[in-house]
């Protein structure tokens, strides 16, 4: 009997010491992981890459901030290049989409409405040239890019509304087409805010 009690005591006292160690370790690592690490990271980031660390803001020629080059904006004026569908209307204080499943009838209706709108705004471009990326909701609702083809199909409309020739607009699209990263990763794309900023300069 006495040995069992002894063993029991030894076991319980060791649980106590484990508890005490666990407590000390937890507090230490809350400080290390939760406070020291993010502050050190922030300090180094601000020191080494201040522009990138603060949201990659984009300025126009006059030096006014017009947005972040990473965050898409809503363009309602048809003389600008239009971005992708965004259920949150590019409101970047939050992010998200409708999360429509592939069989969701609401998604089908939304896409059909986009096609009708396209026919009205772009009578010169038949819908079999309309790229799917342009009329689908991006994952973030903040997608800053469109595909190069999505930019090209908007040229006839923009040319008609602005008087800039289609060739000039096409060379603008070519100029603003970004390659895959490191030449291989991801897809080719056009930054809508950047190209529209250039378009605005051209219109001035």
């Amino acid at each position: 009997m006495s040995t069992i009690t002894k063993d029991g005591q030894a076991e319980s006292s060791s649980v106590g010491s484990i508890l005490w160690m666990a407590l000390r370790m937890s507090i230490l690592f809350i400080i290390l992981c939760g406070i020291a690490y993010p502050f050190i990271s922030t300090g180094l980031a601000q020191l080494l890459f201040p522009a990138q660390a603060n949201g990659s803001l984009l300025k126009d020629k006059e030096g006014n901030v017009v947005g972040s080059e990473l965050i898409g904006q809503a363009f309602t004026d048809p003389k600008y290049f239009q971005g992708r569908v965004s259920s949150i209307d590019y409101k970047a204080e939050a992010s998200g989409s409708n999360n429509y499943g592939p069989s969701n009838p609401d998604m089908l209706e939304r896409t059909k409405a986009s096609i009708e709108q396209w026919k009205k705004d772009n009578p010169d471009v038949p819908i079999d040239q309309l790229p799917i990326a342009l009329i689908t909701n991006s994952g973030s609702g903040l997608d800053p890019h469109i595909t190069p083809q999505s930019a090209s199909v908007q040229i006839p409309r923009i040319s008609k509304l602005t008087g800039i020739s289609e060739q000039e607009l096409q060379s603008l699209v070519d100029e603003y087409t970004e390659n895959r990263d490191l030449g291989i990763f991801g897809d080719k794309r056009v930054n809508v805010l950047k190209i529209n900023l250039a378009l605005r300069e051209a219109l001035k």
Partner: protein, 559 residues
Amino acid sequence: MDILQIIIVIGILMLIAKPLGNYMYHVFSNESNRTDKIFGPIEKPIFWIIGLKKRAGMSWRKYAISFVLTNVMLVAVSYVLLRVQSGLPLNPNDIGNMEPTLVMNTVISFITNTNLQHYSGETGLTYFSQMAVIMMMMFTSAATGLSVAVAFVRGITTKGSTIGNFFEDFVKAHIRIFFPLSILITLVLVGMHVPQTLDPTLSVTTLEGATQQIAIGPVASLESIKHLGTNGGGFFGVNSAHPFENPNGTTNVIEILSMWALAAGLPFMYGRFAKSKKQGWVIFSAMMILFLVFLTIAYTAEKSGNPLLNGLGIDASQGSMEGKEVRFGIAQSALFTTVTTAATTGTVNNMHDTLTPLGGLVPLAEMMLNVVFGGKGVGLVNMLMYAILAVFISGLMVGRTPEFLGRKIESREMKLIAIAILTHPFIILAPTAIAFLTDLGKGAITNPGYHGISQVLYEFTSSAANNGSGFEGLADNTPFWNISTGLVMFFGRYISMIALLAVAGSMNRKQWVPETLGTFRTDNALFTFLLLGTVILIGALTFLPAIVLGPIAEHLTIR
């Protein structure tokens, strides 16, 4: 180009997985090595503060008690911090306190390495909470998982009565693996435009003259540990689909490799512990074969697109772009989806709810199997559990006592493994059924038809597998969902971990049986296929009916 960039990423993984496995072996084998010189002086004061004097080995029970108690402490502090976050410092955007069931869900979610998020980071958390609760738990839960996996491997590969010291493993996992890698990757990501600031939400005037509020914050430091620790909870609601979390193709590849490389290195670490590199290759190959099958299905399904949209007469040649980002396209999205559910990270760069039915089947199936690389440590342990099961079944078929790594597999081990294997489907399928039987559960479904079944099934599968991704349309921030998924995450993590530590403890104490000509070999291609067969058989028998009701039925209706 699509196929090529996928092959390059897998190629880089193959190059770095083995050295990382070797490195982890050096860290945890406790033999003195070169890394001691650099990290020893940092660890010494930490051991002193903790009060760890002897670093004596622990029995499996003591190890389990240690990791559970540490997790309990971290949960308690985090619960309090989230409940009072609005009054704490670093709250420039005036965010309020979290309600209790959401806090309960969130702390369980992060301590179990799941990172299911029923809140949205931009509006639900202060910067201080993002740092002291979210980032902190991303480190500590990953280190806990890795420590337990290492202890399990020690148990089945060594002889004695102890499986290592939890406190020592936990400290080393941080100091020698997660801290250095996290700081490095944070800085690389910032260089590639991921923000890292404590400034409040930006306000800009857009080109059309409107005002746009842009949420920002210490994103990069969360991003790196989110992937390295296979955590997966995003700074923002849409996770790595957000351009601030993942701005381009290169950052996408870095994030993929960050979550994948350590998980893929673990089989090699196991090979070193087992003193048989072939054992490591068997496990790695089984994982890689499953992965490639799933990746092929995901890529093909997404590239073929959604038949309903393809039939509208538009140019749909790009594939299914609903819920995806242009900078990633189909290739980087399909690859990310397959890796994040393989490595049970749960970070997403496209919305899984919007995947085509067969594309959405892939993440679901990977989480159901829960062995394709797997989260920090857990995948390796699960795969080894299946290996023991495969040995057992083969042994029964040929009428020989099953042995694994020179130890007899007996009824105690098999009972514990049965508990671990059966828990997983039980905590997925039972709550799914309950959710469909109650209005509280059904009310959250946002997509009609068979897709609604997938939404619910996905939520519980993700919770049980400690993955944390979601079919995010589900309106899941309600007490019913917060509590039910909270419990599922809790049982999903701790039951299997403790059961498997017990297996390790029992294997550890056994007599070694000498290897003879008649010994069933577990280090060759035949065993790889037996292992795959066991995984697929168990998985299919358990989950096929549920899968048929969800994604398969949806696929057939829109085909």
